[in-house]
Amino acid sequence: MSAIVTETQFHVLAVDDSLIERKLIERLLKTSSYQVTAVDSGVKALEYLGLLDDEDTSPDSTPVSTTKTHHEVEVNLIITDYCMPGITGYDLLRKIKESTSLKDIPVVIMSSENVPSRINSCLEQGAEEFFLKPVRQSDVNKLRPHLMRTSGKRTEDHQPNKRKPMEECMLSPDRTRARYNDDLEL
């Protein structure tokens, strides 16, 4: 078993279309000594991850084009907002899990809305955590086990991807905010 190098700085890719949210999440991540790259859209995230040029990212095809555009920079975790114009956080999650080269990167979803079906779909699609906004230090502290677990060797396979029709981001009722993530046991 490889020893965990404690000096290694984990690199987190944060995705959110709101500048304020990006500032917040960036600061939260930096206080945990993570290196942060923040982008304002799912498309920019895919671009950064080298997935945008791929015609076919299904597990059956050989990922030739992925290696061609693959960044030298390593991303250890992706944290993304759910509701974004263009491609949603869920779409981004799905594309990452369908990519042979990136599917083992832990993905965390953030949302300002507590919609159980949304939370379940994201978790079923392979998200490690679902944080309710505003994200706090206590949430960010939950990222470390996921980062430690996937550092070095690959882990066991994820569950098969289930595609469910996603409900809209907008015009969903506001619910009383519940600290869902506090109850989440992983």
Binding site: S18, L19, E21, L24, R27, M170, D174
Partner: protein
């Protein structure tokens, strides 16, 4: 000593903002993210909130003024404003946004206009108070004290 007096004023004012519901726990979270390595964090985020809010309030005004009101667009703007106000702990603005969204669902223009007025009012209130708070912080630091944030 002047600094002590200013510090006392700051703490009283700070406490009142929470007691009166203008700010909630999230603002404390923001303060905790400010330190010697990031001394301007709260000012930075609050300034962004002001810019963002003013833009969104203008967009909302225009959107409600259209002949064919696009409620999806309005909801999207209010959702954004709800998000940013929630992120900085501007509780009353956030709550006003929640009420606003319910009327968007009902596609009720009159009610939406009233909600916009309400949101704008709450925004202007919290803006005034945050500016006063930040000014106090500035004065303390200028007088040689440590930031109470």
């Amino acid at each position: 000593m002047e600094v002590d007096q200013l510090q006392r004023t700051f703490h009283h004012y700070h406490a009142s903002l929470f007691n009166e519901g203008f700010l909630d726990e999230q603002f404390v979270q923001l303060q905790q993210l400010q330190d010697e390595s990031n001394p301007g964090f709260v000012v930075e985020v609050v300034s962004l909130f002001f810019e963002d809010s003013e833009r969104l309030l203008n967009d909302l005004s225009k959107a409600l003024d259209q002949e064919n009101v696009d409620f999806r667009k309005i909801d999207a703007h209010v959702h954004q404003l709800k998000g940013s106000s929630s992120s900085i702990g501007a509780q009353r603005v956030r709550d006003a946004c929640i009420a606003f969204r319910n009327f968007c669902d009902e596609r009720n223009i009159e009610a939406c206009l009233k909600c916009l007025q309400q949101v704008r009012q709450e925004y202007l209130l919290v803006k005034t108070k945050l500016e006063a708070l930040l000014r106090l912080e500035q004065q303390i630091v200028a007088a040689g004290g440590a930031s109470p944030m």
